[in-house]
């Protein structure tokens, strides 16, 4: 009886060749994309997806061709925030057709593959027990396919909305070795900044990704009746000191604005209606900083 140890190499499957072919497909696709920018945060719920959505709108207003890949495989929200959930991707030529938002942003997300709001992202497996042994690999392969197998066409900038935590950024950096950089989103609380600080360390030490800068979201609140503006929680700007501590530029703060949350919920463009608001100005200023970073 021939045993496992008698099998030479991989028995003729050429697994390495198949993986190389996958990476070549990815490289071919990325050859048409000028910059890939990740939006990340160690902390959940600080507004990564909201920032990605409004940033994509702002950069489109600056006449860039923008794509958004939803790298949050299990908690995708980009399709909803950009108002494209009705689009179902179908294969067309060499790739799946992305959704296109009202402002012309191309979007690809796991959400577009799922039939219902509450459908969980589950993968076929003999059993879901011990899924920890393979699930990260499936998620990585899914992310690769979302980027490589979408018919993006030519893009100036691809934004990647990451899930909370610090483990997806190295995955993305493996897939996109010349990642232009990452925008770090933090909230106003000390807890948020502590968690974000860890993810900054991971990003620079493990993933070796250049950090474009820090955005502090939901830090200030403006009274809709009298216009008085004040900080929400922390008395000092945590985002700014976080940047200083890590030698990363502070890109600005986006105030809390309920209309921003509503626009995200309804998938409506925010800037189209509220560009002339403190939040609108802050978002445009952020887009300009990123533009400057990418194009000097």
């Amino acid at each position: 009886m021939k045993t496992y140890h008698d099998i030479a190499a991989d028995g003729g499957s050429d697994v390495i060749g198949q993986v190389a072919e996958q990476m070549a497909r990815l490289q071919d696709r990325l050859a048409q994309v000028d910059h890939v920018v990740a939006v990340m945060s160690g902390k959940g719920g600080v507004g990564k997806s909201t920032v990605t959505a409004v940033l994509s709108e702002a950069l489109t207003a600056l006449e860039y061709r923008i794509g958004v890949v939803d790298a949050d495989i299990n908690g995708p929200s980009m399709a909803r925030m950009t108002g494209v959930r009705r689009h179902t991707p179908i294969p067309d030529g060499g790739g799946m057709q992305p959704a296109v938002s009202a402002t012309g942003v191309k979007v690809m997300s796991m959400d577009l593959f799922l039939p219902q709001d509450a459908t969980a992202v589950l993968w076929h497996a003999p059993t879901q027990n011990h899924a920890y042994t393979w699930r990260p690999m499936v998620e990585m392969a899914a992310l690769r396919e979302l980027i490589a197998d979408t018919a993006w066409g030519t893009l100036d900038i691809m934004l990647a909305d990451l899930p909370p935590g610090s483990d997806r950024l190295p995955n993305l950096a493996d897939l996109v070795p010349d990642l232009s950089g990452a925008v770090v989103v933090t909230g106003p609380t000390a807890v948020s900044q502590m968690v974000v600080a860890r993810s900054i360390t991971a990003a620079t030490q493990v993933a070796d990704v250049p950090l474009i800068g820090i955005v502090e979201n939901m830090a200030t609140y403006r009274c809709p009746s009298c216009g008085h503006q004040e900080r929400f929680l922390a008395p000092a700007s945590g985002g700014e000191s976080l940047g200083e501590a890590h030698g990363i530029p502070f890109l600005g703060r986006i105030p809390f604005d309920p209309r921003l949350a509503l626009a995200a919920d309804d998938g409506e463009p925010f800037l189209a209606r509220h560009a002339d608001s403190p939040a609108g100005h802050a978002i445009m200023a952020l887009a300009a900083r990123i533009q400057h970073y990418l194009y000097q």
Partner: protein
């Protein structure tokens, strides 16, 4: 070498036994649940990719509960969720032979799930013994040999 039998897939484990009709030498390919799933996660095919991958093939074939409008990738079978089935299906399908009506009728009586395996073994046996068609005599002879092997013990 002829494909002799397969067990499973059962909860991700499968064994495929090949044997030599001349000397009875057997070789088994065993997969376990974790290996199968890890290979599946890579989006590669065991036995080699025989056609160009279609877009988002891993995602479309492995995602549970996806939108109905999204077509499954490639042809049925070719895009099986299991990375191993391609080699097995190929082994079952390679080179078919003429069958007499009597032999056909006999194979029809065999339970469906083992039929392809027996069919393939009969054809291999016939080929090995210089026959260009499968008839009742070939099937009898094959049964006799299988019986001898089984009683030979392991």
């Amino acid at each position: 070498m002829a494909l002799r039998e397969t067990h499973g897939p059962f909860e991700g484990t499968m064994s495929i036994v090949y044997h030599c009709l001349g000397c009875g030498y057997s070789m088994a390919m065993l997969t376990n649940r974790m290996e199968t799933q890890m290979v599946r996660s890579l989006g590669v095919k065991i036995g080699g990719q025989t056609r160009a991958a279609s877009p988002m093939e891993m995602l479309r074939s492995n995602l549970q509960g996806k939108r109905e409008e999204i077509p499954a990738p490639g042809q049925a079978g070719a895009a099986s969720k299991c990375p191993f089935t391609g080699v097995v299906v190929e082994a079952f399908n390679s080179g078919s032979m003429q069958w007499t009506d009597e032999a056909k009728a006999r194979i029809e009586r065999i339970p469906e799930f083992v039929r392809p395996m027996v069919q393939r073994s009969a054809e291999d046996y016939a080929r090995q013994h210089g026959h260009d068609l499968v008839d009742g005599a070939v099937m009898d002879a094959m049964r006799g040999q299988a019986g001898r092997q089984d009683s030979g013990g392991h």
